[in-house]
Symmetry: D2
Subunit: 340 residues, 4 copies
């Protein structure tokens, strides 16, 4: 008899962790959330109680040592990802892990090696691949409606920067924010990046510059098949969360506009007025987060490879490191330089 449900333990009770926990309890029916782990025992207990989850702990071993648990969802801070992946793989648990795997390419590779030798499934949390807009654009590319891809434009702007404390340990704009766009570029183009050129500046808050980061960036990716991708990022957009893509090829163009909370407008003596984009990622991507987790559960239940693999988690890190070096050195950087 085929297994119909899996048991999942979840690590991390921040915004993303709490959302996944809530989804696993109320909106996803082929998984039971069996344990919640947080670095704070109190936080773990509070969330577990709210959701009626039986186990709460401040030790990931609570999940890893429980033979009844099939998989772990790693939603803790970035600096714990690679270690938890390795420990979970060694414990034979399937792994869903939020991006990025690690800020250090060596540790990324150690984590992927552990996954490989354990033979467990690993899916990286690039949820935007599961968004209906971007899926539709990717579908149009795959079915040939756009022809051979020549140019891609990705716009990704946040409504407001995260707290400075977060930025300090985030690895910088490219590893923290642009990394989603690097994944989107790979997803849409369906090939690998060869060269990166990045420019970044600090325009919205001097404090971001003082901790060594930028808040506004333009990136040009050149893919092996010749397709060129421009990405523009900003940490602060007055009109809200801006998430658009456009692909241009020999036969046509496909685009995705922003989602909005409603499709209404008002016309008056000042003009015609419509809604700002849906704000922020938890609202904008709620369906994508659900679809992503269901896909992970699917791949565990069916024993199939996840659609977003360890390589899909690794390569955007390489691109981000190349972008960082490009900005620092004021020249295009080939990925092969980073791999050395």
């Amino acid at each position: 008899m085929t297994q119909e449900k899996i048991k999942i333990g979840l690590v991390g009770t921040g915004r993303i962790g709490a959302m996944h926990a809530e989804h696993l309890c109320h909106r996803i029916h082929r998984a039971d959330l069996a344990a919640i782990v947080s670095r704070s025992q109190a936080n773990a207990e509070r969330l577990a109680e709210t959701l009626g989850v039986s186990k709460a702990s401040d030790q990931i071993s609570t999940i890893l040592d429980d033979p009844a648990i099939d998989a772990v969802a790693i939603c803790s801070s970035t600096d714990t990802h690679s270690e938890f992946i390795i420990r979970a793989a060694e414990a034979g648990k399937h792994i869903f892990c939020e991006k990025p795997i690690d800020l250090d390419l060596g540790r990324v590779d150690q984590a992927l090696a552990a996954v490989r030798s354990a033979g467990v499934k690993l899916q990286i949390g690039f949820h935007r691949r599961f968004d209906p807009n971007f899926q539709e654009v990717e579908q149009q590319v795959r079915n040939g409606a756009v022809g051979e891809l020549n140019l891609v434009r990705i716009t990704s702007r946040d409504p407001a920067p995260p707290p400075l404390e977060y930025i300090k340990t985030s690895g910088g704009l490219f590893l923290d924010m642009s990394i989603h766009d690097f994944d989107m570029a790979r997803f849409l183009v369906g090939s690998e990046v060869e060269e990166v050129f990045a420019k970044g500046t600090c325009r919205t808050d001097p404090a971001i510059g003082e901790v060594g980061d930028v808040d506004t960036a333009v990136i040009v990716l050149t893919f092996k098949d010749g397709c060129m991708v421009t990405i523009d990022n900003c940490r602060k957009s007055s009109y809200g969360y801006d998430q658009r893509v456009e692909v241009f090829g020999s036969k046509g163009m496909a685009w995705a506009d922003n989602n909005t909370p409603h499709r209404t407008g008002v016309g008056n003596a000042e003009g015609m007025h419509t809604s700002k984009p849906l704000d922020f990622f938890l609202e904008r991507y709620v369906d994508a987060y659900l679809a992503q987790m269901n896909a992970f559960i699917d791949s565990v239940l069916k024993g199939e490879e996840p659609s977003v693999t360890g390589i899909d988690g690794r390569n955007p890190v390489v691109i981000a490191l190349a972008a960082k070096r490009s900005m620092e050195q004021g020249r295009p950087v080939r990925l092969s330089e980073i791999e050395k």
Copy 2:
């Protein structure tokens, strides 16, 4: 201590009933679905098993006689609504009932009288009032952005007609389909209709005409405050489910466009191509159905009057009966004629 959850019994396991049951079990957290009743015992049991509901029956008394159950959701066929409302009221249960209350105005009034004397809450299933698009338009009207209302346009077209068997007992286009638009007109204008002029024809399928109904209609409502509303309906729209409104007043206009499955498009040598509207009501209005049921649970828990009352269930029936007479007699009909 305040009650935090209510127990609900549900009658009717058709499309709408099954949807409400699923929502009550998985997506609504302040209610427990305690019993499922269907005219077919087998259907009741099948749905109850799928959702893990403990009681299943072919008798509404299973719900009404259970002192632990606070409320009943009536999703059975229209001809049972008024009887079930009366019985539920007499049993002291709060009532959520799908539209219409009844096709006969006398029975509508009997049902409302029973509710009144029992002092229970009654909410009628005009879910479109809970749709984010229409709520936003109504909000703009209420906050004065549109000024004094002069004209309203409502377009409501279905992707395909229901089965002929359904049409035969539906009460006709005005009582079955336009009734939602009559409610929407009252919701947006915030006043009562005085006169109705209706024209209807059979354009999409002669079989609909043979059973005495029309499939295409235009209706002009004149409200007591002078606002004029045009409604156009069709049972068959090639481009899918069309649900738009526009209100025009002294200060401006507000409109709601259709929702679409995604915000993407393709441009090619033939032009620019975007998505058809979201299809059909279960998809288009899923958030509205959820918000509606949560509002009902709220009003029960707080002991407050529902936002969609018995009068809101009754008046569209009067308008529909006036529309029917207008079409039959080829003249505008005042609501006062129907009330006699």
Copy 3:
């Protein structure tokens, strides 16, 4: 050798007359404006001087008696139209005449009879038929993209009412403003109206009601082929000149949105803001006015029947008279009643 140019005399130096005169002098190359006539000699002379036209007069005979002049453009006030048509026809001049031919159906028929017996060309100034938007919609109807027409919606709202003095002699909203929409309905549906139902109220300025007119109206036209058309009109729209149509048929829908001065927008913390429609008819329809006059010149030069004929001038008057009676008597009125 074929004639390559015609000589035109123009009567009327109001806004529309001045525009046609300017077009004939500067933007239309197959006609020479040979004479300008106005009820005021001074106005005729002033315009003639500005445009370099050699003849100016306060007598239409200046045009009609000049054997070198081929055609007359009648842009004077409505009460002169039928008389000038008759005199021009008797003088053997081809006639372009602004709408309406006359407010009295008897005089309309006398004018058409004069045209017929003289064998001259008569084109009525329903310029909207030459607008690229409405032409494209009509094209889609004719090429079958919409299938059999079921419903048409026409929205026509002015930015501001004309002076009260104008309204007093205009014949009322239906004969002055809605008449363009009646023509548009006939143009799009391609068949004749059978019945009219009209409701009108005075909402924007009580002074309009005091002179016996309405400023806001809803009209339902039923065509012989069963297609139903709703028209909504208002003399005052806060967001400007609103000129939209939508046709709905068995295979699809076609629509025309408003033109705007530019295709730009601004997004900020308050939302996304775009432009109001192009304001007012002289700007909105400048290309249509040009195309209309070129079509008239074409039909004179080629000896072909104009695309907007005397019947196209007459039938909207009948519809307007039926709308007036419908509103006065509170019932639908068949066109056959007006013809009696």
Copy 4:
């Protein structure tokens, strides 16, 4: 008494020259076209006859030696621009000249020096600055609606590449096509470029690569004030002429979409279908070409500096040369390197 009209001589009877000649004769009232010059006497005579211009010649001296002529419009091939500017300046004629001034920066500077010492007006034909869409966006930037500019995106794609013969002598994509976008970037940002990074490939036709040019490019401009601009170009767009800009700043965003031939659409079982952009530059920018020439005439009549000056003609050439070097050397190039 102030002069009310100027006399213009025009050189060049290609597509652009013929358009300007037609405008000067029929649509622009403050100028007389006094002479037409072409390298082919026959072409000059043919166009002069069609438009009723009295003088036709194959020698620019026909214009320059005529003391009655105030200004010359240079619409001949690029390799003649700088020489004709110098000769016209020496003859004391005001000059309107199509872009680019020259492909060689030294000759550009000689031409500008001649203009300076003669004290004549020189306006360069960057017509897009006069387009209502781009003017509105620039206006929003100037009036502060966008705040401090952070990012600009310019998309400029042609429907089809020009003939190979044209491409061979065009100076390449950056000097021929992107130059308009470089001007647009300067126009919108209102500051000067510091650094250019350009990538180009040959994607649409290998023959373009064989003559040493590219047909697809991405360019990143960094302005002195820190604003970053991305431009994407392609010689071949399946859905037609794509001309969009978007500016993003601290307070908001402003954008310009494409113009379309009409504002209509069709909805059917396949989706919703609207129009491709207006095609090609003569149609898309007809109003801009007119406004540009009127602005030139204005500045001559009023003795004021044109709004698009010699420096505005020179600096995009510098940017284009930097883009070329950037692409060839695979690194960002500072404008100061080109100036050396």
